[in-house]
Symmetry: D2
Subunit: 286 residues, 4 copies
């Protein structure tokens, strides 16, 4: 990968009205920032919400982080912005949860190692011991937290206590458990799950089995933020692959693995490069 | 299109057991047929059903249609076959039902005119008068059968009486009405519908509106045989196209039109070239 | 289609330096324009060229066209901009050239009729009389300009004289002739061709025949601006479809028709909505 | 993966004439084989070559390997067949050659480990020491054979001596050297290369750089058998991914890695499951 310059990124959502782009770009220009990328979107609906992602080189920008926040605050208030500033040199810390299937984990670790995903991985958590060697290959601490039906709340509480504030984002890389509401609420819009179907088709268990039974001619995968409505959180990325009558459930699983890992990696890349804004139950991915 | 030789096609479903391929291919060979294409499939499941499509040149084949049927019958009985023979020179007669949207109809008529779809089109039926001119351009009789909620059964009976035995297959090319059970039962496995979503997602009305609301990152279309379970009949073909937050419902409709017409045309091409077998609620498409 | 508001679009290319976005967005804001879409791109290479497309509602904008040009000119000079302003209510006038194949023309005319392509079509020109009826169905004047090898220059000069300033853009919708240099130079960056291969593979004649011979597993289509280097002008859109050993050249042509018309329509939509900027031999498509 | 039964597969090419399917299927039936899959294809061109792949359970088949060969030989002679028999329990031995890029190797090894690719991997050869640890993780012997421009012939001869008859197939998993003709001739139609472009576009070095310069809107990868015409051997599998003006050469490489590894794995899966027949410079992939 090429040497990346340090970048500051502003993510903004606010009611749409004239002057936002002009004001924000002027703010950056006046403090000597050179805009590298700028994307905007407006829902153009009744509510008319405006979204903006604007990134600029940190090198020449004249405000230190605290000063940026202080100086930008009046602009944010004037336009009633929900906003967030991210410094690319502060990599997100991403914890990964897995069960026994390794395809998503293998893929994420490899992309991380070659620098395709720029993030830290403070830990891997699993309810099974199976993937410990894989974690060890990449030098990532692996923690086995068994989860049992009858002690699920206590089990997940123990996981949550362990995680504490060690992670900015959690990835469910085929973690085959439904998280308890209190766990999800501890990481609002900060848990990404990969579901092995093109949602909203085949919600819940055994989507490949459901797909086989229904006789669909394509199967897919969906990366989405986890909410407490099963498989109904905001979708970040989706893709599909064709299949036909020759494909057994095993074949669907094989084809699906390729789609799952690609879709999950894309969603993680988008999140960790600060390209995703959430609005109601949908995403804007710049 | 190149000159097509006349072809005889056998479509066979039966319990799987040794000797079927050998027996069928010997039957063809002994009567001087030259096999052009042969496809087979076995479910390899508990029921273990075997499917075969085998086509051979009519020119050299020594049995006339009636003799073929009579001579093959003992083989069919021996293997408990459900079977069907089709002569390519007897084009299927395909009636088309539409409402107001013209994209699928425009596409089918053009593909038919240039010889891409080999079939006859005895009539176009619509519950609206809007597309009469389009039908006239292609010289196809257009019949306006208004359907009203309160007289639906009588209205559809009138359509059915008109259709009589004029058609081997019906296509719902965005016919925006749910057909009554008695109508569907008059054409078992002989009505193809195009639904504007990747089923089983977004069953029923306004799938593009549903897709927009859910925030999916791809939209699709599904061609399937009509049964009396809405949008749940055997799927013949499906495809999708990517979309993102910039796409309004209008954009989804625009992108979707391209997918709908492509998927419907593919399903019709497969059916009219005798490539589809139905088994339970699924299709084998050779 | 929804009712479209009138929109003003600025297309800008210039050397990249700080302050461009801020200055342009401020210009729009100060004259009461409400920005609807804004896209930018920088090559980030040695030359470091900056590209911008910014559109805003005409309704509230306080400068008339002449005043906009006069007032923006000093900004353009300050940043050494190549720039262009487009009013959406002034539809581009798009002349279409065809030979005998109708698939691209059928598709463009239909998309134009339903309002998917917003443009005027002042004429269709062909070196064959075959598609006159099709043009007549849509009420477009059709002009037959035979082109012969031995009189090609004079023949094309006659076409050019006829076209005069009737068209802002020309589309070669499978016009199977190579235009003379003087003709191409009369419409610099204003002729779009559809080539029936994924360029740069299979330049020149019979790309489907070449593809069949090479045994590729996918075929494609490319829409590009015409230059005097055959099939080497800036690419606007490309797509492919899978094929296999079963596909004859006829099958490749059939599959290809679907890709060609989709790719050409996409390129025309992008050009006619002022979304394409050309830089050296490449395009930026916003 | 499910438990696979042992399977015998016949691969046949011969001049097309009536009776082949009948004779071959009768041969299998008479010796109590149960046909599992059967595919056939005829070029339908001047030469009219017929291809067939037919597989049946070994369990019930009454001929031992030597007897099968002896008994089938008269049939083969009668139809002038080039033919080959493969027993699924005799896994192909596949040697892998790499340079420094690890994405294809990581992917192949993982697919092999989870049983998605059924083959043996007797060795990995590289002209660089970089990927030795990766090989070690999977317990595969890694051999470093430096290749220098001035001693290339001797260097490759040393590799060839080492390989001897240890491998049935070689995979160039981004082995960034052009093999000498004598080396290629030692493994006719038994070396698979992954080229990082949609051939025949961008033959030779730096295809992503070439693609960037040309401004294409999609990039791709091609798996093909190696011949002594660079990048011109029979194509087994190809795929592409969309790109646009935002993509730098680094981005093309990132996107391309995903396509390369998927396409190479597909080609290897097809070869190792005896699904590829070569005819002239093209493949039939059943």
């Amino acid at each position: 990968m090429s040497t990346q310059k340090d970048v500051i990124t502003l993510l903004i959502s606010c009611p749409d009205k004239p002057g936002i782009v002009s004001t924000v770009s002027r703010f950056i220009y006046e403090h000597n920032g050179n805009i590298l990328e700028s994307d905007q979107h407006s829902t153009n609906q009744d509510d008319c919400t405006f979204f903006m992602r604007i990134s600029f080189a940190e090198e020449t920008f004249q405000l230190a982080p605290a000063d940026l926040r202080k100086t930008f605050q009046p602009i944010a208030e004037r336009f009633q912005m929900q906003w967030n500033v991210r410094y690319s040199r502060e990599r997100l810390r991403v914890g990964i949860l897995v069960s026994k299937y390794d395809h998503c984990l293998v893929d994420l670790l490899w992309r991380w190692k070659i620098g395709e995903l720029t993030m830290g991985i403070p830990f891997i958590i699993s309810n099974h011991p199976d993937l410990e060697n894989l974690a060890a290959m990449y030098g990532i601490p692996y923690h086995h937290f068994p989860v049992k039906r009858e002690t699920r709340v206590a089990d997940e509480q123990r996981m949550l206590d362990f995680i504490g504030d060690k992670a900015d984002l959690l990835i469910l890389a085929r973690y085959m458990q439904i998280l308890e509401p209190f766990f999800v609420e501890a990481f609002p819009q900060r848990i990404i799950n990969i579901h092995h179907s093109f949602l909203p088709a085949f919600i819940g268990a055994s989507p490949y089995g459901q797909a086989f039974k229904r006789g669909v001619k394509l199967i897919g995968a969906t990366a989405h933020y986890v909410t407490n409505n099963l498989d109904e959180g905001p979708i970040i990325a989706q893709d599909v692959i064709h299949c036909d009558h020759r494909d057994t459930v095993n074949d669907l699983e094989r084809k699906g693995r390729d789609v799952e890992r690609r879709v999950l990696a894309e969603a993680v890349r988008m999140h960790t490069t600060d390209r995703v804004l959430i609005h109601e139950n949908k995403t804007v991915v710049f």
